[in-house]
Symmetry: C2
């Protein structure tokens, strides 16, 4: 039986607030910035929650981390970006699913994952140099050096694109690794298979247009 | 140049409301139930947004679709599930990233994806038969037949587990497929590579505990 090895709580690099206090399974949690940054850098998609007049909304989008900030971009007509630009409270989740965990009992089935949840308010990036840098970072996340291997945005394109910066100041990470939890003594004799099924995300062969 | 082939809007099986009206790139959208169901059935993780006293929160979790309902589960002590059980408004996003799309110009870089966004209110599943069925469906999504290849939850375990049903009634799908958008005439001569990089998610070899 492989016992789950979980991240040990370390000194907080990131602010621990009432919002980022880990309520469920805090032993899986971390406020360590290097842990948070690594998850952000591996994930290609984040989910942004904000409050609309109709209630909570969550939308997926690509993103990039630069230092302690996340950048997202899109059309200047996007409702989500508009809400973020106005400084409304938002929450961003970044999730990597690593494995499915199968146990002898239904209850102990689980998933291995690495996730970040960040709370804060967006800021519209209006400084031209920062905007160009954020868009270049988004391209270079797709493929290193890509921002220099395509035509950069011209002024008209730059104006039609909104870039939002979002702070990673109030963020936490949660990680589960390893196999299923140990069975209760009365379950160890059960004949069922237990272990993990890795979920593997890879890049396939490039397809030219 | 492969032109993007996008889902054509079909007759709405699911309710089109002001919330599910597709604001951005409606040509990529669909309210077709089969499209929505297929995305739900392939994805292993969803992101649930709800409103807390501190503002919007989004949390990743596993889920399963049965008919026109999504089921999520967790500890009865979970704040998210408690909020959903109380019937608070929520929004669930389900996202599959299929490819990164590289164009000759920075602006036309994109991503191929299939996503669902559903709005509604949760309902705590208290009926024992429905609760057992939902938990079995969650297990069978991990691996077909898994609910019969492990010890089912006993009464104590069932009581400690909260199951929430969430309707797919007010939901929409959004899909992008294909290569980059055609270049503007003044960009076609640019020497840069354009095309797609598939993102492939597979199950690795099982690791016994």
């Amino acid at each position: 039986m492989v016992h789950p090895s979980r991240i040990v709580m370390r000194m907080a690099d990131q602010a621990r607030t009432d919002r980022t206090r880990l309520r469920r399974k805090p032993a899986r949690g971390s406020h360590d910035f290097a842990t948070i940054a690594a998850i952000c850098d591996e994930a290609l998609v984040c989910h942004i929650a904000f409050t609309s007049p109709h209630g909570p909304v969550v939308i997926p989008t690509t993103f990039v981390r630069t230092g302690e900030q996340l950048y997202v971009h899109g059309s200047a007509a996007s409702r989500m970006l508009e809400t973020l630009a106005e400084g409304g409270a938002a929450c961003i989740a970044i999730t990597l699913l690593d494995a499915l965990v199968l146990a002898k009992t239904a209850l102990h089935h689980s998933a291995n994952y690495r996730s970040v949840v960040a709370f804060g308010c967006g800021r519209e990036v209006t400084d031209k140099a920062e905007k160009h840098a954020a868009l270049a970072a988004l391209l270079d996340k797709i493929e290193p050096g890509r921002s220099r291997a395509c035509r950069p945005p011209n002024d008209k394109e730059l104006a039609a694109t909104m870039v939002i910066a979002f702070p990673l100041a109030e963020a936490s990470a949660k990680t589960r690794t390893g196999g299923p939890l140990p069975d209760d003594p009365e379950d160890t004799h059960l004949p069922y298979w237990a272990g993990t099924i890795p979920i593997v995300t890879t890049r396939g062969s490039r397809i030219a247009a």
